[in-house]
């Protein structure tokens, strides 16, 4: 998981999803996840996943990298699908697509929204210690990944990690984690000291204050609402289940157009690189 890249994408994009507010994107992801929960139709899930992939292309971010971030749960979904395998690929496909679609919806929010905005919009619903803990954990993650990167380089350079020597590698790696923890704690204690000097009294921010474009907000929420409505219709109106395959066709068309938009005019696709 490349947290630095995710943070960079979230802060440097110019697409309509980047311009939408965090709450509207959280609603979008919530509606998408709700549609994944209520449906069990393979073609609908495939259509939803391709639609989300089209949205990724539309953001102008490196689409394959973003889609790969969200492909991680597929490993575990495959294990679960294998446990129920009876030779029918559709059942396995539904399990894997549910995992992929829900993950991609969440990842789209994370790669298009700076994390303080995401956490700030969750703040009203969370106890203070958890809200502050979310900010500090995410902040610490950057510190830690930097330290981890240096540690791994140092271990390799000094022969601490070598092929075929599993026991020695585990011992050295574990000592490395211990060192990382001690250094991380030192940094966070200094961080705490600095916060206290600057008047920290248990509250890091005043909450969400970044407004999005109303049109982009509406676009995000509407996209989620339309997909959920389609899922509900296909679930409860048996005669309309054939919509699934047309949804796939429409999603493929959207994907082709989004890919062309992202690749040819190079408007938003370049925006995050130039900044």
């Amino acid at each position: 998981m490349d947290v630095s890249a995710i943070d960079y994408y979230a802060n440097h994009g110019g697409s309509f999803l980047h311009r939408a507010s965090a709450p509207s994107k959280l609603v979008f992801a919530g509606l998408l996840i709700a549609s994944v929960v209520v449906t069990g139709t393979f073609y609908f899930l495939l259509g939803a996943y391709i639609t989300l992939a089209a949205l990724v292309f539309r953001t102008g971010l490196p689409a394959f990298k973003v889609i790969t971030f969200a492909a991680y749960p597929a490993i575990f979904a495959l294990i679960f699908a294998a446990a129920g395998w009876n030779g029918n690929w559709i059942g396995a496909g539904v399990i894997v697509l549910k995992a992929l679609a829900a993950a991609l919806a969440s990842v789209i929010v994370i790669v298009t929204t700076p994390y303080p905005d995401v956490f700030a919009s969750l703040r009203p619903f969370l106890p203070k210690i958890i809200a502050e803990g979310l900010f500090l954990t995410y902040r610490s993650l950057f510190l830690l990944l930097d330290l981890l990167d240096n540690l791994l380089k140092a271990l390799r350079v000094r022969g601490g990690i070598s092929r075929g020597k599993i026991v020695r590698n585990v011992v050295n790696f574990s000592s490395g984690i211990g060192l990382l923890l001690v250094r991380g704690l030192d940094i966070s204690e200094k961080f705490y000291g600095v916060m206290r000097v600057r008047g920290y009294n248990g509250k890091l921010s005043d909450g969400y204050d970044r407004a999005g474009s109303p049109l982009c907000d509406a676009g995000a929420v509407l996209t989620g609402a339309v997909i959920l409505a389609l899922a509900l219709v296909m679930r409860y109106e048996p005669g309309l289940e054939s919509l699934g395959i047309y949804f796939v066709y429409a999603a493929v068309l959207a994907l082709a157009l989004s890919a062309a938009w992202g690749l040819y005019p190079k408007r938003e696709a370049e925006a995050w690189k130039k900044s």
Binding site: Y43, I129, T137, Y138, G184, E241
Partner: protein, 236 residues
């Protein structure tokens, strides 16, 4: 393997809701308990330990589908209440990265939180019992026992929820062929073979437990040498 990597929409809604409810109650209890200590001072520690857990969870060992959780280390360093809060924070963040479903955050917090809380108490117990063996062995053994118990809790959840692909697919539904007309009966899908699922988990998991126990033992041992104050925190 104790982490529930079941996608959104596969578990029945009642068990997902129950997971959130129990987690909310346990969080309320934990927050009430930590109010007696200087929480502001503990926040940076929660941040760094949670970040370490996230880093561990993203290092996937693909052949055995395992990642280290470092939750026992979190339990030992933070104490049970703060560790449970830390686990919730970790689960919430990683679910945003698509790692584990958003709807199963409650259940995941129970499973991994149990790991951290059990890890803490088992470590304290084993440390007292195995006084001559050093903290490394106590923490490694605590890790194996906690992981076994949390994996059993996870399997219990899977068993109680009667998960099967037919439930996930809503058995009354049909899938149409490419003409959008003829339907394929979804009831033909088999249900999850729980025995096979348990065998798969217990075949792969011990390798991960051994690795996690080794890492936990070595890290705690290292910390005890360098910062012994961290290994014996106030009971939060």
């Amino acid at each position: 393997m104790s982490h529930i990597h079941i996608p959104d929409g596969v578990l029945p809604i009642w068990i997902v809701a129950a997971g959130w409810l129990v987690t909310a109650l346990l969080l309320a209890l934990s927050i009430r308990r930590v109010n007696s200590v200087d929480v502001k001072r503990k926040l940076p520690l929660i941040g760094i330990v949670s970040a370490l857990m996230i880093a561990g969870m993203t290092l996937e060992i693909v052949p055995i589908a395992y990642h280290i959780n470092l939750s026992i280390i979190a339990g030992i360093l933070l104490g049970p209440a703060l560790a449970f809060i830390s686990v919730f924070i970790v689960d919430l963040i990683i679910s945003m990265f698509g790692h584990g479903g958003i709807t199963v955050v409650g259940l995941n917090t129970i499973v991994i939180g149990a790991e951290a809380v059990l890890g803490y108490y088992l470590f304290q117990f084993l440390r007292a019992v195995m006084a001559g063996r050093g903290v490394g062995w106590s923490s490694a053994l605590a890790a194996i026992l906690s992981l076994f118990l949390s994996t059993s809790i996870m399997l219990g959840i899977v068993y109680v929820s009667h998960i099967n692909p037919a439930v996930a697919l809503h058995t009354e539904e049909t899938v149409h062929d490419e003409d959008g007309g003829a339907a394929v009966d979804m009831e033909a899908h088999g249900s999850l073979d729980f025995g096979r699922f348990v065998k798969t988990i217990f075949l792969l998991a011990p390798l991960g437990w051994a690795l996690e126990a080794a890492v936990t033992g070595l890290v705690v041992s290292y910390l005890y040498r360098v910062r012994p104050d961290l290994v014996a925190p106030e009971k939060t």
